[in-house]
Symmetry: C2
Subunit: 179 residues, 2 copies
């Protein structure tokens, strides 16, 4: 840990609904100090949800930070209803997609943007998904539409810039590698 | 654009060195309003830097938000010295890695975390890299060490959780697909 920084102070600048923002002062390996702006996030789950005929579920939605509509794999942050991140994955698969599965297999875990945020994404694989009989309600500020795409269609949407986020690109790359 | 949200107000909560934080009020498609917490980021470049003998450069560094040391592809945000994101890629390839190349080819563009941040990553491929003759100085709060890994070694570091961020996972996935 010769590179490790040592946290000297931590100031909470903002406490929000989705994220918090902290400003840390750290001691550097050379003894000097520096400031670190850190977005705290509870972590999130995303799902590669595959039908029996090898199509994957994508969610079309408006992304206000990007000012555009995107296609992404179903995903959501861990919230107070979830005992763990896998519970968040099951919930989002139901809420956003209206599907369930026999099991979820952890495919990958990764940090979205390690320079300034602690958000960790857990990406699960669900095969042979089935429509749920009892669907959970969406959050009341969520508006979305489902698309079932083949791998070739998903790759076209990457080329078109509609699939344009890291977790979904990772999901399609894993899908391609397993096809 | 039936899902589009309409920005009603935007409040700058924090102006920082790396990120800004805004709180928007938006009109939803159903006419109601909602709040959106948005981290503004200038965008960043990352480089898949391959030697002639098919090893890739990875940077070992402390990531304070994660409280761990990671291995990542060389990367950095666009700053005032950069005329564009490709210029940031050339600069980081020199600063962080001490290498240059004949050309950089854009491999992918993606948003790190589209739910709450506008950070866009441009990932470039550099092949047959060569050590620079005139190396730029690192930022004075950067401490890092270089590693040249084979594809198999990189995959081991993913398994070990040392390669653990989205852009580097995407870089290794592209590398695997082209190998």
């Amino acid at each position: 840990m010769e590179f490790a920084e040592k946290r000297l102070t931590n100031q909470r600048l903002y406490h929000g609904a989705v994220i918090d923002l902290d400003l840390e002062t750290v001691a550097l390996p050379n003894g000097k100090t520096a400031k670190r702006e850190i977005v705290r996030h509870p972590g999130a789950a995303a799902i590669m949800a595959l039908t029996a005929d090898q199509r994957m579920i994508f969610v079309e939605q408006w992304r206000e930070p990007l000012q555009q509509v995107t296609l992404e794999v179903p995903a959501g942050k861990i919230d107070a209803r979830d005992v763990d991140v896998e519970a968040a994955a099951w919930r989002e698969l139901n809420e956003e997609a209206g599907y369930t599965a026999d099991k979820l297999t952890l495919q990958a875990r990764f940090y979205s943007s390690p320079g300034f945020a602690d958000e960790r994404m857990s990406l699960y694989l669900a095969t042979d998904i089935q429509p749920v009989t009892k669907r959970l309600a969406l959050d009341d500020d969520e508006f979305l539409r489902l698309h079932l795409l083949t791998l070739a269609q998903a790759q076209e949407q990457i080329e078109a810039g509609v699939i344009c986020d890291a977790k979904t690109l990772i999901a399609v790359q894993y899908w391609q590698a397993m096809s």
